[in-house]
Symmetry: D2
Amino acid sequence: MNNSLGKLFTITSFGESHGTGIGVVIDGCPAGLPVTPDEIQQELEKRKSLHNILSTPRHEEDKVEILSGIFNGFTTGAPVCLMVKNKDVDSSPYEDTRYTARPGHADYTAYLKYGGFNDYRGGGRFSGRITAAFVMAGAIAGKLLALKGTEVLAHTIEIGGITAKPKGIKVIKQNIGNNPVRCGDKLAAEKMLKAVEAARKNGDSLGGVVECIALNMPAGLGEPVFDTLEGDIGKALFAIPAVKGVEFGAGFAAARLRGSENNDPIINEDGEIVTATNNAGGILGGISNGMPLIVRAAFKPTPSIPADQNTVSLKTGKNLKISVKGRHDACIVPRAVVVVKSMVAVTLCDFALRAGIIPGVIK
Amino acid sequence: MNNSLGKLFTITSFGESHGTGIGVVIDGCPAGLPVTPDEIQQELEKRKSLHNILSTPRHEEDKVEILSGIFNGFTTGAPVCLMVKNKDVDSSPYEDTRYTARPGHADYTAYLKYGGFNDYRGGGRFSGRITAAFVMAGAIAGKLLALKGTEVLAHTIEIGGITAKPKGIKVIKQNIGNNPVRCGDKLAAEKMLKAVEAARKNGDSLGGVVECIALNMPAGLGEPVFDTLEGDIGKALFAIPAVKGVEFGAGFAAARLRGSENNDPIINEDGEIVTATNNAGGILGGISNGMPLIVRAAFKPTPSIPADQNTVSLKTGKNLKISVKGRHDACIVPRAVVVVKSMVAVTLCDFALRAGIIPGVIK
Amino acid sequence: MNNSLGKLFTITSFGESHGTGIGVVIDGCPAGLPVTPDEIQQELEKRKSLHNILSTPRHEEDKVEILSGIFNGFTTGAPVCLMVKNKDVDSSPYEDTRYTARPGHADYTAYLKYGGFNDYRGGGRFSGRITAAFVMAGAIAGKLLALKGTEVLAHTIEIGGITAKPKGIKVIKQNIGNNPVRCGDKLAAEKMLKAVEAARKNGDSLGGVVECIALNMPAGLGEPVFDTLEGDIGKALFAIPAVKGVEFGAGFAAARLRGSENNDPIINEDGEIVTATNNAGGILGGISNGMPLIVRAAFKPTPSIPADQNTVSLKTGKNLKISVKGRHDACIVPRAVVVVKSMVAVTLCDFALRAGIIPGVIK
Amino acid sequence: MNNSLGKLFTITSFGESHGTGIGVVIDGCPAGLPVTPDEIQQELEKRKSLHNILSTPRHEEDKVEILSGIFNGFTTGAPVCLMVKNKDVDSSPYEDTRYTARPGHADYTAYLKYGGFNDYRGGGRFSGRITAAFVMAGAIAGKLLALKGTEVLAHTIEIGGITAKPKGIKVIKQNIGNNPVRCGDKLAAEKMLKAVEAARKNGDSLGGVVECIALNMPAGLGEPVFDTLEGDIGKALFAIPAVKGVEFGAGFAAARLRGSENNDPIINEDGEIVTATNNAGGILGGISNGMPLIVRAAFKPTPSIPADQNTVSLKTGKNLKISVKGRHDACIVPRAVVVVKSMVAVTLCDFALRAGIIPGVIK
């Protein structure tokens, strides 16, 4: 039961899948930042499901409402509360399966922890839908970082075992918006899309990996020993449902490199201190070194699948079979791309405020 | 500059590699826990370097001193301050290389962030030596968890690309203490040791992976959406120097599984709710489900290597070559095993207090 | 820019005087607490201005909306978001005086701190109106405390120098609801009311003192050395606009007593450990001793007065005269009574959760 | 059990009255601040008891040891750990009264809360001796504030009902160091001293009031709505044992003023915005306005008195008599002056870092 994140740039999340809506309070946002509802909406649109992208007509949903903190188009220094209302949804199907724990979901742990009082409709507080709040906060954070020239981007690098080929930043940026899986490699994107479609037809689902890159990073962000860049970004990413792994730079592959291979040589390049390689992912000693920050998050496959699965009744404890019906995403990775970007942006923003790089008033 | 971790069980770390010593203040420890210096010392011994293990005579060092919070053999409810003094070391070699940033180390980022005032001797605050404080805190945390039957163990599963074969818990437990690399697979342990020796001879270093398992986990630990088990354990592990990746259960491999493969079937086994597999690593929705908690941390290879490397002078910015001399661990993974265990224990202890599973007074 | 309070029972406040509304997110509320909108509304009604109480017809306003965290009449363990919408108010008068700092108000400090971006309409974020959020949170906290038999009550003990005579708890309880100034002493209440009316007629305003008493206090609440009962309650009360002093038990008067007078003798009364007097206000060493908790908050007189006052222009810095128009409360003390009670309840609730006295799930 | 205070400038206190010593970890102190042990010692000397001041020879005690965070005479950005060792004291007298709760002390509440495991010798963790840690932290904080020209001073304004006459800052500064009760009014100081001596002879004790003034305050400190200047300073002061009331500016007296009297007129004085009076104590809306900050703390009389008092046995619950023996301060107010100053300095330092007024590196 802790729904706040960040020390100086603090987001507080509230809302459930089938309740009134999903919201976020952003506390510590400097005054004087120009913000329009459209800018937030644009980010929310990137969280649309593949389903909606591929089908028409487009569902009008997740429209941002500004409840506080923005006045005459600028942040005021007061907490910014943003909300998207839930559409009227039919929650009745959830009544039947209320006490049937869906494997891979939080049904069992939530039932235990909250004594059965948790809102079970659509996963309630454990629904991926709460990430809409993360994205709204990320929209504000991204604008703050942009003031200092820092750009955060994310892209799909793996779905169902299909991996994107490494591409230059320019190509990645071009491709992300041009394919529904938000992959920087066009050919891989096509294969990923087919794999997702095939999985859906087979009543199955896929996972994948999202990579996030922050360009033009200020050096000196991070507050070790405990509030390291890796630690706080990692924590923020693990708050996204389905993330089971996080790595920076060479990550798990670094464990297989020799020191002579993994160490990034430091060089003075026309007066700028850079590293020849970036196995560190832009972080040394928990602090940014000015190179691009690189982080990857592993997503497990969507647990909601129509196939018959073994489970138990939360009420009686008896063994049961369950088949999860409904239009679930066969792969949530493409939708998660903007969520990963948002959580990284929110965390960097907190560090930039702590380091005094973003001031208390934007002028 | 944040050196405290945990909400109710809070550890505050202080000290540097070549200063007076390394210490930790443990705040929020319940009163009434019996603690002897020997119990803490025993854990500290597991952090001895391979170097010391393989050579004789054994160096008498890292002797715990209890500065507060323990009275008549029991914790009092007051903050527990523990410290190990640094041995008299010759810091003069560090004067020569004071302004030469060692690649893969925090020299450059620390210099930038602290304006050159950071203690540079032996890495100062960024030395792996500060993990002695983590281990002392872990010793206390482990005792608290044991009261509820929870046992935290860790073992090396990979060094320099050599992987341990999966073994049963019983075998792992037997083997960890019987080989200097603290691996559960005896055969792999021998190969790992050889690989480390070979790397050292070649003036190089190796990384690896440590796995931590918590047995007899209480269900219901974790405070989503932000203080998830994964998030807080991940953050704690990223505070260990050299950790670049963290994953839970199937982790990054889960990204390549189908939902039908990755979902853990839930079954009632003689009245106990368990899962048939444990790809979730004992965590669903950020909350423990009672299955063993499984987490892995990837360590990059030791950055201190004698080979010539490109770098710059922090003073002049000019390009230089550096060769890092001294008796550095060619692989810190074996020493890190107890550190990983400690950080997991510290985090679980915090969650157990938050969930009310460990009471404020031990009776 | 910090709008969250509490460690385990955490309230996050948002909203402005003339924006969409005033809201609060209550995080850490145990699951299973039955809550109806009426119960919250009842508390909000106690914050009505004297103005409204004395005049008819009653203004329909400050109607609570539950945005999250309550499902089927019970808290779910998820964050509870509560909001009252602002009525459509004419903010145009504030345009004229936008740059004229009202003496005794936060206009000047807010302008400085937020670079002029703060919402100045009706005081914006610094309006007493934000205490509606405190009251909504207090309604929930009060219900939680009641589960353990703890009752928090508050009453006016002084207005404009007129002091209430000490009365027994029973009499105080009876009288609070029976007079518009919420005073436990009926005769004093009449004088206070007259004094407020007289001040209003003279274009002036009055301050006063509110006392809060928590009955049936559990012993052992408080987390010294820094999170003392006095410290955290004090901090919570200083968040109420216009509070300039806080004291516990004998308070400032204790400074004039001798040790032999001020020490409360401890006695065993039919098996219960009590003190013969309660100069400590129920707190020793920052921890509750089971006696009634007693705290008083001093409120300065309402700064909004029609009399001409010297001030400066925030824009030009030039000296000006200002007369604050509008229907302001000539004394906010009667409205503040429920606010004081709420903040004490919120703080005690946090401590009760920290001490494990209120469980994570209400059964 | 919370022993840390502050968000960016965080102090963590440890130690007990009769244990190894009293210490503090200061986290978040900017790098590059020159600090000598003498500067800290000088502050510690101001905490000497009247007893020592009036008698000779002077006891050599409370000698500061720097355990971490200071290197070559400058802070490094790493946590600063400071400690004073306890002298070898005879704790045997405390064995006899171990289970006899001293009225006005925390014996009963500590026993309850920590299940009897608390260190009872000399009050253990609840001893006024722990304020030595506050003073060491205050020495560092004071130096940081001085960089921006802010000066924090404190003086005794009341002891045993004898009040100091209001004096100008210059006179107060001169007098504080020239009399053992640290009062700004010489004549009152003499009377206070006599009153203390008389109380001691009568086997009784006195309380009093300490006022703290911060001169040359930066405007804009304070983070409302919850982290107000009043709230955080109040919380810090209530951590000092024996403080039962805190007020700012006119404080409780403001409750008796009319708005027209209490409002401080704002004027432009040669280009500087000031207020004609300072009833606000330099704070509006929880934020500093640049005028001197004024805060007062009320201290109850020392609870340790030789007179017979009623109490109970913690072991049996039976009614007993107790007479507290030993050389206790008949009035701790003179010693508390530097402690009040220190806690205000520590809090202001935290706010100055949060406002970006003190940078992360001192150059």
